[in-house]
Amino acid sequence: MNPLRAIGAASLRFLAATGRLTVFALSGVGHCIRPPIYPRLILRQMVDIGYYSLPVVGLTTLFAGMVLALQSYTGFARFSAEGAIPSVVVLSICRELSPVLAGLMIAGRIGAAMAAELGTMRVTEQVDALETLSTNPIKYLIAPRLLAGVTMLPFLVLIGDIMGVFGGFVVSVYKLGFNEQTYLINTWNFLEAQDVISGLVKASVFGFLVALMGCYHGFHSRGGAQGVGAATTNAVVSASILILIANYLITEMFFAT
C-alpha cells in the first residue's frame, strides 16, 4: 500500500465533508433570515434548550464555582493571597467555566436529542414527506434549531455566571470565613464588561455549533436505528471537540495582546 495515497484519500474525504458541512450551515443560516419563518417551532426549540436546560447548567456551574473557591483557597493560602479568591472565581466562571461547561452539557443534552429526532425523521421518511408537502426541511427543521441554539446559550451562560459566582460566594463565606460584603465588592470591582461579553459570545458560538452538529448528523443519518445511534454519538463528540477548539480561538481573539 502506498501511504501517500492513503493520506491523500483521507484528506479528500475530510475536505469533502468540510465542504458538505459548510454548504449545510450556510443554507441553514440563509433560511433563518429568509421568510417564511416558523415562530411556533422556534419557540418550542427555545423552551427546550433554554428552559429545560436550566437545572443542568445551574447545577454544574454552581458546583464549579464552589470547587473553584475551595481549590484556590488551599493554593492561595500558602502565599497569604486569599483576597484574590473573589476575582479568581468570577473571572474563571464568566470567561471560561460557565460557557464551556454549559456548552458541553448542552452538547450532551440538546445535540444528542436533535440528532436522534432528526435522524429518526430521516430514516422514517418524514423528511421526504415534508418535501412532498411543499415544505423545505432545512427551513422547517434546521433553521429553528440553529436560531434557538444561538440565542438561548447566552441566556443559559448568564444564569451559569450567576450560579457560579453564587457557589464561590457560599463556600467562601460559610466555609472559609470571608466577609459577605467584602467578597461581593471584590467580585464586582474586578469584573469588566469584556469578561462577561466574551463569555456570551462564546456561548452564542457554542450554541450554533451544538445545533449545527446535531442537525447535520441527524439530517444525514441513514440505515435505521443503528444509523441514528451513530449520528447521535457523532453529534455529541464533534460538537464537544469543536466547542473546545472554538473556545481557544475566541479566547485568543479577546484576550491575547
Partner: protein, 262 residues
Amino acid sequence: MTDATAQTPKIRLTNVHKRFGAKHVLQGFTLDVMPQESVVIIGGSGTGKSVMLKCILGLLTPDEGEIEIDGQPTVHLSNSDREAVNAKIGMLFQNAALFDSLSVWENVAFGLIQGKRMKRKAAKEIAIEKLAQVGLGADVGALSPAELSGGMRKRVGLARAIAGNPDIIFFDEPTTGLDPIMGHVIDDLIVKCVKEVGATAISITHDMPSARRIADRMAMLYKGAVIWNGPVAEIDRSGNDYVDQFINGSADGPIQMELRKL
C-alpha cells in the same frame, strides 16, 4: 394510437436509471401515464417501485434518463420550481411517514397550513372531513401517530396525501396491512379520487384484487424495467410468463428460476 400520441402525458419517464453504489436498481425504466389515468405498478419486493416514485418526486435524483411532468422536464429543477411541481402531487408513503411530533389532524392538514397557507381552523375542518373519508372519526384527529395501529397510520397517510386535492397522487402500497373490508373502502376512495376529482394516479401494490379494482392500466416492473404494460383487461392474456406467474402468485415460473441461480 393517434389519440395517445396527440396528448401530452401527465407523467413521462424515459430510460431512467438509478444506482445505489454497485446496486443498479432502476435499469432503463420507461413509462407514460396519461392525464386522469390510474396506473398500477406491480412487481416483487425490492425491485425499485418505491425508488421510482421518489425519483418522480425529486427525493432521489436519477443517474440517467428524463422525467417529465406535464411536459416539463423535472430532473434538474431549482428548489422553488420543485416546490411548485410537488404542490401538485400527493404522496402516500409505504410506511405512512407521519410526523410524530404533530397530532393526527395536524398531519392531515400539514400541506394545507404550511404549503397552501390556510388558516388552522379551516384546515382542521378539511382534515376531519378527509379523515372521515378514510373511515376515521374526529376523535382520532386529536391522537398522536404513535397511538395508532399500522392500518390506521396508513389511512391517515392516505388522508394527508389527498387533503390538498392534488392533481397527481402516488399510493405506495395503500392497502398493505389493512383488513379486506377496509382495503375495499380504500380502493373505492382511490377510484373516486381518480374518477370524480380527475386526478392522475400511480399506485404500487402486491394485492392483485385491489390492483384490478383501481387500475386502468397495469405495468409490471422486473429487474428495474417495465417488462409489460397494458390495459387491466388484458392482464390475464398478457402472454408474458413473468406477469402470469406474478398475478397467479405461483411458486413455479421464470421469476423463481432466476432467484435460484443467485
